[in-house]
């Protein structure tokens, strides 16, 4: 019997987050972060946004994107901290902080997404 470690699960979340963010993020960020503010393209109206976000499918996809990306961030950030800065002795603290933020962030995301009428 294989002992259950958390590592495979964290890695799965990390990878899934990596793939999903790679697929969806660049375009979203290009539109909302760069193109609209620069005025290259007119930003969608509030009504349009509500229509798009009102679709349950959009919300599910966004929720998955937010949650997995947060875990992606948490996992990578944790590793970078102790490989880059060599602060391995703080292993546990870092893990609690990073994954903690991801869990809380996921809750907040769920709350915000389901607020939309």
């Amino acid at each position: 019997m294989i002992k259950q470690h958390p590592e495979p699960w964290l890695w799965l979340l990390f990878s899934a987050g990596g793939v999903l963010s790679a697929m969806l993020m660049p375009m979203l960020l290009l539109l909302f972060g760069v193109a609209f503010p620069f005025g290259w393209v007119a930003a969608p109206s509030h009504a349009q946004m509500v229509a798009v976000l009102g679709n349950p499918l959009t919300r599910v996809v966004l929720f998955a994107l937010f949650m997995l990306s947060l875990f992606h961030w948490a996992h990578r950030f944790r590793h970078t901290l102790y490989d880059g800065l060599q602060i391995k002795h703080l292993n546990e603290v870092i893990a609690v902080l990073t994954y903690g933020v991801a869990v809380v962030g996921t809750g907040v995301a769920a709350y915000i997404l389901w607020q939309i009428p």
Partner: protein, 138 residues
């Protein structure tokens, strides 16, 4: 394996070198690795930014307008341009690694890694077009 640190004629003192804290500055490829890992910060920022946006949409047209205005502030705009570059870099590094991490079989033959990678790039392009169409086109 002898771990002795004291030199005697029969117990040579082995030299144990420490990895420098700035190891990632020693080689371009290490630095690129750190940049790749660093991209996660921008992934995190993106989630935060989008949540603020969605939250604003939920709060009504006024807050939505306010957030659009805020997003045009130079520092936000600057941050987002950098974030976009990092996120795109993240995407490229992720797809680059696909052939190494994923072996796909169709029946008993192995699909060449390049093909698997190409499929990912195609999916990326498709997803991006779909998003653009949903938000701008519709």
């Amino acid at each position: 394996m002898s771990d002795s640190h004291v030199y005697t004629p029969y117990h040579p003192r082995w030299l144990r070198r420490r990895v420098s804290t700035y190891w990632w500055l020693q080689k371009w490829s290490y630095f690129r690795f750190i940049l790749r890992e660093g991209s996660c910060l921008f992934v995190g920022w993106f989630v935060l930014y989008m949540l603020l946006l969605v939250n604003a949409v939920g709060k009504g047209p006024d807050s939505y307008a306010r957030i659009l205005e805020w997003s045009a502030e130079p520092w936000v705009l600057g941050l987002n341009v950098v974030s976009f570059l990092f996120v795109a870099f993240h995407a490229v590094t992720f797809f680059e690694a696909v052939p190494q991490a994923l072996v796909v079989h169709i029946g008993r033959t192995r699909v060449p890694g390049r093909l698997v990678m190409a499929a990912h790039y195609m999916a990326w392009a498709l997803a991006s077009v779909l998003i653009a169409w949903l938000i701008v086109g519709a």
